[in-house]
Symmetry: C2
Subunit: 391 residues, 2 copies
Amino acid sequence: MERVNGVNFGNWLVLEKWMNPALFAGTKAEDEYWLAQDLPQEVYEARIKIHRSEYITERDFVTIASWGLNTIRIPIPYFVFGDRPPFLGCIEELDKAFAWAERYGLKILLDLHTAPGSQNGFDNGGLSGVVTFGQDEKEVEFVLSVLERLAERYGKRPGLWGIEPLNEPLTEGIYDASQVEKRYPARDPKMASHNKPISFSFLEDFYTRAYERIRPHLAADKVVLLHDGFSLLRWQSFFKKSGFANVALDTHQYLMMAEMAGCPQTVEGYKDYIKEHYEKDIAAVQAYVPVICGEWCLFNSLAVGIDTHGGQTVLNGVAGAAKESFTKEEKRAIYRELADASLKAWNRGSGQFYWSYKLLTDTVNEAGWIGWDAWDLGRCVDFGWYPVARA
Amino acid sequence: MERVNGVNFGNWLVLEKWMNPALFAGTKAEDEYWLAQDLPQEVYEARIKIHRSEYITERDFVTIASWGLNTIRIPIPYFVFGDRPPFLGCIEELDKAFAWAERYGLKILLDLHTAPGSQNGFDNGGLSGVVTFGQDEKEVEFVLSVLERLAERYGKRPGLWGIEPLNEPLTEGIYDASQVEKRYPARDPKMASHNKPISFSFLEDFYTRAYERIRPHLAADKVVLLHDGFSLLRWQSFFKKSGFANVALDTHQYLMMAEMAGCPQTVEGYKDYIKEHYEKDIAAVQAYVPVICGEWCLFNSLAVGIDTHGGQTVLNGVAGAAKESFTKEEKRAIYRELADASLKAWNRGSGQFYWSYKLLTDTVNEAGWIGWDAWDLGRCVDFGWYPVARA
C-alpha cells in the first residue's frame, strides 16, 4: 500500500456549523438534519447548492496536487444518492470530484460520514445528540445499499483509493467518556430516548456485511478502510479471522483527546504523548493491519492560549482566547515541531489525512476563535506551520 | 508610491456568470440585474449570501500574503450600501475584508465596478448591453454619494490603499470597436434604446467631482485611481491642469485585446507586442502620472489552442478548444515567459493587479473551457505559471 499523504474535505458534503456559520444563519439548527427542517425547502436548496459549488472546486484539486499530497478523504452523507428527502443528494458533486482527481493525479477515499439515526450523535454525524444507528435493520440495510451503489459506481475508477463504510461509530468503550449527550444536546429529546452506544459485536458484523457487499465491485487495489471505533488496539483477532483482502484500519487522533487523557499542554508534553502513545500503538497495530490516521490536526490548547477542555468552542458555550498568546514566529515554531512529530508517528503506519482542507471560521472578526485556524490545512501551509513538498 | 503587486477579487461582490455558473443556474439571467429579477427574493438572497460568505474568506488573505502580494483590488457594486432594492448591500463583507487585510498586512483598493444604467454594458458592469450611465444627473449624484460614503467609512483605515471612482467607462474612442451591443445583447431592448458611449468631457468632469468629494475624507497617502477609459495616452493635459494630489491612472491590458489589434498568436508575437506597446506606452505616461495595470492576465489564444476571437467563450456562443494543444511543460513555458514579459512592462509603471484571484470555471467537466484556468491566479501559482516570492 502506497503511503497516504492526504487531507479531508470536511464540511463540503457533510456540514459542520462551526466551520461554516453563514449556512446556518437565522436558524436554530446545529446540524444539517435541523437545517433542512428550519429553512423553507427552496432556501435550503439554494444555500446547499451554492455552498457545494463554491466550497470545493477544480482549483482546490490543483492546490492539493501542488502540495505533493496524493489522496483526499471525502466525507459523504447517507443521502448521497438523493433518495432521502428533504436532503439533497450529492452524487453529481462526487462525479465531478472524481474527474478532477483523475485529471490532477489524486485519489479519493469515500468516507460514509453519517447514517440514519446517527452512529455518534456528533454535529458532524448530521444529527446532534442522537445515537440510534444499528437499532433498525431496515436502516442498516439502507446504508449497506448506499455503500454497494458507491462501489458499483466508482469501484473501478482510477481516481478511487478506497471506501470507508462508517465514520466514527461511538462504541461502548468511549460512549460515557465522550459526554456526547451533554456536548451535543438533542434538539428533540424523543429522538434521543433510545440512545445507546454502538456495540463492537454489531460493528464487526456490520463491517463484515459491508465488506462482502462492496468488495466484489472494487478493483483489487482499492482499499476497504474500517474505523476503529475509538479503540485502536482491539482489532487483531477480528482481522485475523476475517480473511479480508486489502483492508486497513482508520484511527483518529487529536491532541485535544490527548489533553483530555491528561497530556501536559506543552510542546514537550505533546511530543512525548505522540511518541509514547500514537507512535507505539500504530507501530504495534501496523504489524498485522495497515493503519491510517484518517483524522488529526495541529490544533492544541497551548497554541490557543487557554485550556479548551478537549476542543470545545464558543459554539459549545466555552469562551475562547481573548488575545494571541504567542508571536507569529513562536506559533510557527510550536506548530511546526508538532507537525513533524505527528507525521513521524502516522508514517509508522500507512499514512494520514489532515482534518481538514479548509474551514470558513473567521478568527479576526468573530471573537473567541483564536487558534482555530490550525484546523485549516490551507492556512497551516500558508503560515508555514505544515511542511509540504511543492512540485 | 510603493509599487503595487496585487490581485483582483473579481466575481466576489460583482458577479460574472462565466466565473460562477451555479449562481445563475435555472435562470436566463446573464448578469446580477436580471438574476435578482428572475429569482424569488429569498432564493436570490440565499444564493448571494452564501456565495459572498464562501468565495472570499480570511483564508484567502492568508494565501495572498503568503505569495508576497501587497494589495487587493475589490470590485464593488453601486448598491454596496444596500439602498437599492432588490439588490443586497455588501458593506458588512467589506468591513470584514478590511479587518482581514489589516491583520495580514495587505491593502485594499475599492473599485466601483458598476453604476446605475451601466457605464459599459459588459456583464461585469452588472447590466449587459446597456450603456446609459451619465445621462441622468440624479444617478450621477447617487454614485458620487456612494464614493463619498466609502471615503468617509474607510478613508483613514490603514488597510485602505485607495479608491477608484469608476471601472472601465466605455468611452467614445472604443465604443464601436468593442461591439458591446453584439457581444452582450440587452435582454430588454427598451433599456438599451438610449445607449451611448461615455464622452471624455463627461468623464473628466465626473472624475473631478469624484476627486473633490472623496479627497477630503482620505488620509494623504491614499490614492485616487482613475481608469483611462481604454485610452491610455490621452490624459496628460487633464492631469497637468487638474492639480490633483496622489492620483494614479489605471489601464487594463489583456492579450486578447492585443490579438484583436492584430498581434500574432505566438510567444514571440505576444512578447513583441508587450514590449512595443504596453511597456513603451506605460513608460511614456509614467513620466507625468503613476500608471497601474489594474487588470490583465495570462490568458491567450495560443495556449488555448484556438483563436478565441478576443476572448469570447462558450457563453458568447463561440466554441472552445476540444482538447489540450500542449503538454503541461509546454503550457508552463508559454505562460511563464509571458508572465515575466508582462510584469516587466507593468513595473515600468507603478505596478499591477492580476485579474483575477479565483474563478470557479470548471475546465474538466464542462466542455469548451480549456485554457480559461489562466484567468485564475491561484491556479497560475499552483501550476507554476506565475512567479511568486513565498515568505
